[in-house]
Amino acid sequence: MRLRLVGRIPENSNVRWVRSTCGLCSIGCGVEVAVSDGKMCGIRGYDHPVSRGRLGPKGVGQWQCNDHPTRGKTPLMRNQDRLVESTWDEAMDRIVDHVNRAIAEHGASAVAFYNSGQLLLEEYYTLSKLARGGIGTPNVDSNTRLCTATVGESLMQSFGADGPPGAYEDFEQADCIVLFGHNAAEQSTVLWMRMLAAKEANPALKIITIDPRRTATAKAADLHLAPRPGTNIALVNGIMRWLVENGHFDRDFVDEYTVGFAALRTLIEPYTPTHVEAITGIPAWQLARAAEWIGTSPRVVTTCLQGVYQSNQATATACAVNTMHLVMGKVGKPGCAPFQFAGQPSSMNTRETGADGSYPGYRNWANPVHMADLAKRWNVPVEILGQKPIAAPDIFEQVVAGQVKVLFVMGTNPAASLPDRERMLGGLRDVFLVVMDPFADTETVTLADVYLPTAMWGEKTGCMTNAERRCNLVQKVVEPPGLARSDFDILVDLARRMQLVDRSGRPLIGYTEPREAFEEWKACSKGTIPDYSGMTYEMLVERGGVQWPCNSDRPNGTTRLYLDARFPTSPERAESYLKDLETGHDHSKHEYEKVVPPRDRARLISEAYHPPGDEVNVEYPMIAVSGRLAYHWHTRTKTGKVAELVDAAPRVYVGMHEEDAAGLHIEDGEVVRIVSRRGTLVAPAKIGDNTPRGVIFVPFHFGDPETSPNSVMPALSDPASKQPIQKHAAVRVEKTDGRRDAWWRAP
């Protein structure tokens, strides 16, 4: 791979360069940060195995927001309708008192933690231990529930446990890359550069994009399939049917390493190309061509992202993609992987450590042996473990219903990012809300009862594991501003002040430094699927990260999982006893034992298509979908403070097809109102042919009351992964007062 160099390099030569890891998206690029006079002043790529010198525009700009004037520098506490400055002691004492009272009066589940995919492994692990092993609440989840919860669920369903099987180098080795709901040119810029470089090196490489919109990724692809929003599962069923009908499946692999082929054949039988065309709108010839390329290419990588995970039947579709690869035997080989992709830089760590709806080390909450093992390692009574983890949508419903009394929000901005927004905001207003965030100006902070200023990227040390299971080290290069503390330090302090102890009466959180937490995590993960026991901080810096499992048997880490096509589906190893894809209801252990695949086989899973829950009709004739832009991250709490990124994408817009606009007499730049059954948004219409007819697109980064697509999205989640469906709302478009704001035309 060629080395590129992208960065902002200060002209001042008197700087110190420190190796670290980009903290924006899930790719995990290696960076060097320039430091002068205790301040960050530049950034550049280096010859890191993931990025080879490359960086994306968000990564290049990330250090610029650290000194923004909206950084929180001191704790704040609510005094009637105002947040006023306080000391750390005052703020923490108030929090501890509220937490203890809430638990004493109502139980541990009266306290909930909603964290982020942007924190560090050591912080997640500490939170997991504090919440599950100390407080005992099942209400712990991450904002990764909104972006990649379906990854973990689909991998558990298909293979028995979470853990993406592939590696980025598979993209260079593949003959065909399928990007399913993954607008890589805007979301995964450096990985897209690698794919384009691979295409240059091997012009025979075929790239297929599946996306309702004609995105930058779609324009560069060899084939673009544009399904109607909400119909993904029908498309994958149709591709699988074509593969089987035309003999492009690996009978030996299916027989030896999988179960469920007969049922799968029955399920996909109705999905003829013409039937799929009727559901998805994809011409039959396009489906056949895509299936032919997938079936005849010896090496295929398929990525999924939010276009799958935030859509109707998300888990079923992601499972079906896994199934498609299993049917072809294209798993665990170079250039072959169903790549269920992570979105945020450390979303993998939330799942590995149990800071989302899981237990540490991919332990199964319903398996008493797994829980006994964890209890032993934590030295806590096993009886307090094994609570069924609760996912974010259910946590926020408890907040709205008044069942949760204290909510910690860590490094995320749910007041802008949750669907059915106005109803959720009511809950956030009423609960005792503790917000830990680097910035004091987010929508969520305005509702806080206590605000704790936190250190951010560049101001603390710890690990982030990227989408290919590569653990990288993020280094502290400058001090946080004012009195801000790392989330790690705050959690350690919280555990100390709450007097949480283990069975021996010793402090539950017995460490005070991230490195000590990492050592404990290594011990906790030893022998589990995400085994970190062979890693050290020094190794991570020297090698540009290491892919787990890394242990005494695999001291250099592991590039790919499942090389032997043996999968952790046995009751002893499985991370889950499986959920029903239609209802999300768990199998009991006894039920699982009846359906468990013999001899560590994978499962072939899909589901019949059913229409999305928010019905399109005469009153609401169009479908609203939301998505990302290359220059912003989530609700712009960081990227909205970087001049070049703000200039690139300053405000919201509504993408609309020119024929739809003409029918409504709407002109480019005209401000329109989007009306759904639950809320509205107002934004200028950007008219063209990138958005298909009958669909409007709204970037979700802009959380202001008038502009957030989450105001129109329904409170519907995937039943199994509980990931909210943020890519399907029935809406209508209305003209407003004729105002115009065609900011995208500005030079």
Partner: protein, 280 residues
């Protein structure tokens, strides 16, 4: 204060023992719900100790051996005996908590009263299982709804699925329909039957909905006042104040690239900061 923490851990241990043996998924879910309830109560006892600045109760190695033995015995003898043993355990909890409550005041009194009320509600559920009545058990042989742990009659049919076994009673079906936000509630009848029932089951088995059932149905069963729910009213955030200016970089942008090619073309568009707009 009696060692309630150890008692709850022992109760959980006995429930775990039962869970390891019980094959009936409906009864297994009842045991799991009771386990969860005892875990909550354990946390309450520990939090009370912290609030009173006492050493957190420990000594669970020497937990209530009798209770564990009762649990072990129940594992061997089917659900009815298990139910009776559980009833005995909850009766002990109720009595002990009520006695302790009577001797206490202030925050301790409040917490002990809440713990006693929880034990009474669990006991009331078991009472209903041991002596089924038409209001709490609509069908025979008795089923156990996975939301309310009873089997109450209602206007809509009970919902049953297999693999995994799922059961939501008729009354819960009625109640859960009212829990959907208004915008979705209006669309329920337009959903295909299978999908509609799946979505109702999903909501019925959510923690929020189960908690709601426990705080209302079980409270009525135990002769307690229902805990009023403080459903938050929707709100809109005020428009944000003008933001301070974003930070421009003082370091020049460097983008090394090959003379031409796919990646180079993309890099140029990406770092032009304006050209990608044509793809939006």
């Amino acid at each position: 204060m009696k060692n309630f923490a150890a008692r709850h851990l022992a109760a959980i241990a006995s429930l775990d023992g039962g869970l390891a043996q019980v094959k009936d998924p409906e009864f297994a879910l009842l045991l799991r719900q009771f386990k969860s309830d005892h875990q909550e109560s354990f946390a309450q006892v520990m939090a009370l100790a912290r609030l009173e600045h006492r050493n957190p109760p420990r000594g669970w190695r020497g937990a209530n051996t009798l209770m564990k033995l009762e649990g072990r015995l129940a594992q061997l003898r089917g659900t009815t005996l298990t139910t009776r043993v559980l009833h005995f355990i909850e009766d002990q909890f109720t009595t002990a908590y009520r006695e302790a409550e009577a001797e206490s005041e202030g925050m301790r009194h409040q917490v002990l009263a809440a713990l006693a009320a929880k034990a009474e509600r669990r006991r009331a559920v078991l009472d209903a299982h041991l002596a089924p009545k038409p209001a709490t058990f609509a069908s025979l042989p008795a089923r156990t709804c996975m939301r309310c742990l009873l089997d109450r009659p209602g206007a809509h049919p009970a919902l049953t699925r297999s693999n995994p076994h799922t059961y939501v009673c008729a009354a819960c079906h009625d109640e859960v329909r009212t829990e959907f936000p208004e915008d979705l509630a209006r669309q329920i009848e337009s959903w295909p039957l299978q999908v509609r029932e799946s979505r109702i089951i999903t909501k019925a088995l959510s923690r929020t909905s189960k908690q709601r059932a426990h705080l209302t149905v079980h409270a009525r069963l135990a002769g307690q006042p229902e805990t009023p729910e403080t459903q938050a009213a929707p709100m809109r955030l005020p428009a944000r104040a003008a933001q301070p200016p974003a930070t421009p970089s003082t370091a020049p942008l460097v983008v090394e690239r090959a003379p031409e090619g796919l990646e180079t073309s993309y890099l140029e568009r990406l770092f032009d900061y304006k050209k990608l707009r044509s793809d939006w």
